[in-house]
């Protein structure tokens, strides 16, 4: 099955071309082409995953390379497909979500005038994303990275007649470009120093010390900038909530499960190049993002905006998890989040489809009308809130555990854990607020309530499937074994300072008593790649490993208890406020009006950027415009003016000197002609006089 891996991205690409060219003339407007392409892709992905699962080898790797561009033998650019365990998991995640979104769109986009084009865009997006997942070098991941950016631009702006959608897609594209620029710089820095683009080759070059120290940190942060853009991390998170202007399936596909996950995937993919400093930057960026977004979600009233900010927040968790060394934790959260967030988004799409509004203040009581949507939505909410037994608990707990472990080792960074833990409570609170306001209580808008109805089967079937995938038993166990942190490529000397910390954390598959034993067992082989030949004696090493495992175990136990406690607190608070109404949210809002306004205005990030970046750009443009108008144009006009003057002078010269010379020649000719004509009298004897005179003169000349 793995032989057919290249079909996974190529089929959607073919579907894109078919749909964009002849989609409208096909039966059913060509939706089955895209659906079939991604369906086959999903089948192949599952087949590949099955093979990988059968092998059950943490170091599984399938790598096909072929030369793509031969620059005269000096440099050969190779294209290739790299499939390891992470790729296999990501393929299934992306294909599953993409397939279900395709299926959902058949119902949701029904009757849209650009129906076939929508499916074409979905296909090109799937192609880009799958290509990104499968690529084996920085060069190709960058190409697909930009393709993802392009196709997200097309999808977000699909309803470009709406000004807000047109603005949102531009904003998404431009903000992403900012991050992509960092990515490009980081990639070029690596390329300039190592001269290779393949992941493995770059890692090898780093091991050989071709790039190290600050430069490597900068390269890592540069590449992480790409992830900041795509994964909507602070300070480039502003595009994601606006991008909710796209059709809801697009929000589910791009902003929940795949595109934003690309950044996390990238960080995971190039994990070995990051230095400890770079990791610290990553962790804090994640922390800032997860906290800010969660607080904004508290005050938002648009169902999709709440979900968008919760996406930002969860992505912050993933990034922070990766930053503190929880490689497995970050990627596990990526996987579980893809399922439950897609479920939430499609569920919100189902709700919007039913009531034709996105404001949760106009909903309420929908439980009675849309039982399937409500149940799936609640399951996904339980998952994101981190309730035990659901997938979000499993993965978020690993992240919290990794953060706590990092904090225990480096007490000055305990804030990472504290912030993440506090935000876990916030997450539970705002998600349950959303659920209660949407599905329970009395209907607040009877007109809309009366028109609400359950969505058709092709819309709720994906919901049910995704809700089913929101339980933790799908992930626990194998994930921690198969997805293990790759050895850092940083040479031992510098790795030793940081080395041990993430090693044990990553190997720890799941917290709690049931997996504790496995965690101890697995951390021992995991630590090995960090300390090659020059490692300390075996006994010392073993003791250290067991100490690490013990620390990790403790950290994860505390993290689990505290996260369950905080989560319960958040849920309880949501019930107290919105279900029982013991606390009036209006009163709370009015009593801390400045905070509420601050949150409602999303921390004034848009205004801040408007004032600084955009305003600065505009001011710069105006200055440039002034310079252009006055200095450059002045210079050009001056040159032109000088030209006019010179021409005037030359014209005078031409008129008087040159023409004067010409006329003078003519005048002289005329004058001399009229002078000499007097000698031509026509009288014969005059000529004879001259003749005779001439003879006499010749005679005289001869004589004297």
């Amino acid at each position: 099955m793995i032989r057919y891996a290249h079909f996974i991205p190529l089929l959607p690409l073919a579907a894109y071309f078919i749909n964009i060219a002849v989609g409208r003339r096909l039966p059913r407007k060509g939706d089955w082409v895209s659906l079939g392409a991604i369906g086959i892709g999903l089948a192949i992905s599952i087949g590949i995953f099955h093979e990988v699962f059968q092998a059950y080898d943490p170091n599984f790797k399938y790598h096909v390379v072929f030369p793509w561009l031969d620059l005269g033998g000096r440099f050969v650019l190779k294209a290739g497909i790299l499939i390891d365990n992470v790729t296999a998991v990501m393929l299934v995640v992306v294909c599953t979500v993409s397939f279900l979104v395709h299926l959902f769109s058949v119902g949701y986009m029904h009757g849209d005038p650009r129906y076939s084009r929508f499916f074409a865009y979905l296909s090109i997006f799937s192609f880009s994303m799958l290509g990104l997942v499968l690529s084996d070098s920085f060069f190709f991941i960058y190409i697909f990275w930009e393709l993802v950016g392009l196709s997200s631009y097309l999808l977000i702006g699909f309803w470009f007649e709406k000004k807000s959608a047109a603005d949102a897609c531009k904003k998404a594209f431009v903000v992403n470009r900012v991050g992509d620029f960092g990515f490009l710089l980081g990639f070029l820095l690596l390329f300039a120093t190592t001269g290779v683009v393949g992941y493995d080759e770059v890692f090898q070059a780093i091991r050989e010390g071709k790039i190290e120290g600050t430069l490597l940190t900068l390269a890592g942060i540069g590449i992480f900038c790409g992830a900041i853009g795509k994964s909507a991390q602070f300070p480039l998170h502003v595009w994601l909530p606006d991008a909710m202007e796209g059709p809801t399936p697009v929000s589910a596909l791009i902003h929940a499960a795949t595109m934003v996950a690309a950044g996390v995937y990238l960080v995971g993919r190039v994990y070995p190049i990051f230095t400890p400093d770079a990791f610290l930057v990553i962790a804090y960026i994640g922390l800032i993002t997860l906290f800010i977004s969660a607080t904004i979600a508290l005050a938002a009233t648009d169902i999709k905006k709440v979900l968008a900010y919760s996406t930002c927040s969860q992505l912050g968790y993933m990034i922070m998890g990766l930053g503190v060394g929880g490689y497995t934790a970050g990627l596990a959260h990526l996987t579980t989040h893809a399922a439950f967030k897609a479920c939430l988004f499609l569920g919100s799409g189902s709700v919007i489809h039913a009531v034709h509004t996105q404001e949760i203040t106009e909903m309420g009581g929908l439980w009675k009308k849309m039982k399937i949507t409500a149940v799936t939505f609640i399951v996904a909410t339980l998952a994101i809130a981190g309730v035990p037994g659901f997938s979000g608990f499993y993965s978020k707990d690993m992240i919290l555990g990794a953060a706590l472990e990092f904090g225990m080792r480096n007490p000055q960074h305990i804030l990472l854990f504290a912030g993440a833990l506090f935000t876990a409570g916030l997450t539970a609170f705002y998600m349950f607020r959303l659920v209660i306001l949407t599905f329970f209580g009395k209907p607040r808008d009877h007109h809309k309530y009366d028109h609400a109805h359950e969505s058709p089967a092709n819309m709720w079937v994906p919901l049910v499937i995704l809700a089913g995938l929101s339980f933790s038993f799908w992930y626990s166990g194998w994930f921690g074994t198969l997805v293990q942190k790759p050895a850092s490529a940083i040479p031992v000397v510098s790795a030793a300072a940081h080395g041990g910390v993430p090693a044990a954390a990553a190997a720890h598959p799941a917290p709690g008593a049931t997996h504790g034993a496995a965690g101890v067992h697995e951390s021992a082989p995991q630590a090995k790649p960090h300390e090659p030949a020059s490692a300390p004696p075996a006994g010392e090493h073993g003791a250290e490993a067991s100490h690490d495992a013990h620390l990790a175990h403790t950290a994860h136990r505390y993290a689990m208890f505290s996260s369950v406690g905080v989560g319960t607190l958040g849920i309880a608070l949501a019930f107290v406020v919105y279900w029982f109404g013991w606390i009036d949210p209006e009163k709370v809002a009015s009593s801390c009006r400045p905070v509420h306004t601050f949150l409602r205005n999303k921390w004034y990030f848009d205004e801040l950027y408007e004032a600084t970046v955009i305003g600065g750009t505009k001011a710069l443009s105006r200055a440039m415009g002034w310079f252009d108008n006055n200095v450059v144009d002045g210079l050009v006009n001056l040159v032109a003016q000088i030209g006019v003057w010179v021409s005037w002078l030359i014209g005078k010269f031409d008129n008087y000197v040159v023409d004067g010379a010409v006329n003078g020649v003519a005048d002289v000719t005329i004058g001399s002609g009229s002078f000499f004509r007097r000698f031509q009298t026509g009288k014969l004897y005059h000529y004879v006089y001259v003749l005779a005179g001439g003879v006499i003169i010749i005679y005289l000349v001869k004589v004297f």
């Binding site: 031509q680 026509g682 005779a692």
Partner: protein, 100 residues
């Protein structure tokens, strides 16, 4: 008779001819002056032929000149007739059409 005397006669004859050409206004008189100049030249040819070169060529040339003068007179008189027919006179002053 010596060469010098012949040359003096010839020069006198030439001067008479030239004088006639320069002073006379009547075209026929001018033509007669031209005849005198030609005859002066012929005398020179014959004289030099007899006294200097000792070959008959110069004398033959004189005969040619006489023939030529006859032809010239015929042509010139024909021109004068046409001139008289056009202008009613043979005064050379009136025949100044080639004036620049």
């Amino acid at each position: 008779m010596s060469l010098e005397k012949l040359l003096v006669i010839s020069a006198a004859l030439f001067c008479c001819g030239l004088y006639a050409i320069l002073t006379r206004r009547n075209a026929v008189a001018v033509l007669m002056g031209v005849e005198l100049v030609l005859n002066a030249a012929s005398i020179n040819f014959v004289a030099f032929s007899h006294y200097v070169s000792r070959v008959i060529g110069g004398q033959i040339f004189a005969i040619f000149v006489i023939v030529l003068a006859a032809a010239e007179a015929a042509v010139a008189l024909a021109i004068f007739l046409r001139l008289y027919a056009t202008t009613g006179t043979v005064e050379v002053d009136t025949a100044d059409h080639l004036k620049g």
